[in-house]
Amino acid sequence: MLSKIVRTISNQLILFILIFGLYIIMHGHVTPGGGFQGGAVVASGVVMLIAAFGSSEIKKSLRESHLSVVESSGALIFIGMAFAGMGTIFFYNFLVGTPVFGGIPPTGPNPGNVWTGGVIPLMNFGVGLKVMAGLSAIVLAMALFSSGEEMEE
């Protein structure tokens, strides 16, 4: 556990990091970014918390089994979107032209519209969930192991 200053500041900062990460995830189809990058940003926030509070403190509120469930669901969202296109073909972008994220941007440079992209924003969301949970779980498990704590099964 680090000093009180670090703990207070990271407590405040985590909110901004989360919002920034979510922004990167949800705007992946319009601006640079996407699920992997945004997920990594959020996971870095979790790593900051682990560094500030110590892994045993974090373990009380964040268990790897929960992270594992979040990760599995993120992966399921991603592969589920791919399977949902199976009416035509695997990975078919079936939402283009429908009311849900179906807007088609004008060809050429344009100001950008979040309500476009078909399945891509949803896939980005799934990947984002998966990456943030996965990377956090890795770091948490490593921190717990090196501090000598036994993990649940």
């Binding site: 319009v30 601006t31 640079p32 992997f36 941007p105 050429g108 440079p109 344009n110 100001p111 950008g112 990456v131 990377l135 890795i138 490593m142 192991f145 090196s146």
Partner: protein
Amino acid sequence: MMQYIPFNIPFVAAALLVGVALFIFLFKRNLIKIVMGVAILSSGVNLFLIALGYRAGGVAPIYTATPEGVMVLPVPQALTLTNIVITVSVIALMLTMVMYIYRHMGDIDAKKSRLLKG
């Protein structure tokens, strides 16, 4: 092709990074250094891929509020992103194993291990 040599510096840099990594694999026996070698090898490959996709004077291949003009190739960027994530995964697993080896042997020098010597 010889007249292009001055423009090919990024490719040469990538090749040298790969060479540094190969040097580590051939001469270093510390497990952490081997993991770093994998990271450097991966960086070399990433640099190579990204350099492949550059087009002179190109902008990022994103249409949102972008200036008119030629765009750099998008596929190498996707390949690089894939390779970065894969490298992160490989390194995480490698470090896990190194932690276990350290716990078992109290040392991370491959020369002291029966299996890893070769």
